[in-house]
Amino acid sequence: MVATDEKGAGMADYNKPIPSPDPYVTQPFWDGAKEGKLMLPRCTTCNKVHWYPRILCPFCHSSSIEWFEASGEGFIHTYAVQNRAFGGWADETPYATAYIDLKEGDRMFTALRGVDAENPESIKIGAKVKIEFDEASEDVFVPYWRVVD
């Protein structure tokens, strides 16, 4: 089984690209991630959730945005299986990447866990997934989604 299917890596083991949180807009997401919570931005004018985080709602252009703790559940919208990779990902081919429709609305990108990437056709669009976080550094926990169906 590929390493992405294992329980989250410890900080010292994390050899994938580590994102740089932008302190002006996205910090609440990363603060939540450290506690294992999926924090999402929601417009208080039109009540829609958007992803990625913004200072202006892309649906109604209001600037009244709040953060809330989401369910951490979603569904596979589409996926691909990567057979060619570099850096920390090179050891893990083949692995599946996917766009996840969030239960609360809008979409995130991820590398899928709990799937058999050797058999791409066994992965199902619409399958239920849950979020989990890897400790990539002291401050940054990277979200991943695991198929739980």
Binding site: R54, A80, T97, F109
Partner: protein, 415 residues
Amino acid sequence: MSAAIVAAAESDKIGYIEEGTTALNLHIEAIRNVCAEAGISPAEIEGIFATNHSNMLAEYLGIHPKYIDTTSVGGCSFQMHVHHAMAAINAGIIDIAVVSHGEAGWSARKNQGKGTLRGGGGDPWLPSAQFGGDLYGSWGAPSAYAHALTRHMHQWGSTKEDFANIAVATREWAGLNPRAVMYRKSGEGGLPELPEGDAGGGEKGHPFGGPITVQDVLDSRMIVWPLNLLDICLVTDHGGAVLIASAEKARSFRTPPVWIAGAGESQSHADMLEMGDFTATSAAASSETAYRMAGMGPSDMEMAMIYDSFTVTAGITAEMLGLTPRGEGPSLWANGNASPGGKFPVNTNGGGLSFSHSGMYGMMLLVEAYRQLSGTAEDGIHGIEGKQTDAQSAIVNGTGGLLSVTGTLVLTADV
């Protein structure tokens, strides 16, 4: 008011250039060649259009343009440059513009990334950097576009075979173009097998060149499921340039005009994270604008040049341009319809899949559309018998980024 493409040319060499080259040289060769073909001096250029580097190109040429456009949104930028040049001409600001492209996609490997005109790394605080593909091992265009093909098969019941046939039909056109990388298979027709590390191309032949079948596509190496190697475009060196002129000047050059009857552009997103429908692009909107400007529709088109970075790009775009019903894009290529001798020629140069694709293929669409509609597609260098069609109109669509941005042109022959 109107404007025309009045000449089109390439760099001295294209494809896999054995000795290597630079993007800058490819630009300058193409501009020099297009001016020579039209019979003008580069000093007569009033507007310069290129991705990012227009100012530097003008300096290199020693010219002082009064209109400078650096639109750089991927492979469709050149369709948009034509749109913008047309607008500048129709506004009465300029009469003659050059659109230029130079990209050393192949030589970049040989030269360790030097000579590419590419900038440095991205901003790590951009949303796409914090939440996008790089974090999760999605590497560039093939990794990303594969997600669209998976969704198309799920949503519309299409198959990998349907899309593979696009590569097969496109390869037939490459067999009529001796400058196409995939023109013939190396080792055939008395040609020697290529030495290790030499990817060949053109008349030398290519290990994967020559006619192919759907099964060949399905049997080729799996790069990113569901995209096999032969679903994916080439990465070559290529320079190209076209001249755009006002209606008043259009017939004053050594080369004939091809009219810009309609133009449009649009976008659906920048990063794929924001792609709403993975089976649609903004070409629906950009082509609607272009058709309306032309007073023409899909049924008035006699050929198409469709950006084929991947088979899935071409298939989806056929739907967006109104050339097939929704969900049935690959049917445009079925039963030889889009092949040499077919009813509706598509990608008559051999496409990004089999002719040449340096990274941003839009210029190659323009050059071939100009040649087809000006009757110069078989001139002994760029094509052999059968490549020239009798089309009098063409729809040309560039797709840029990650199925993100589109530019569409409706072009018509001079009558």
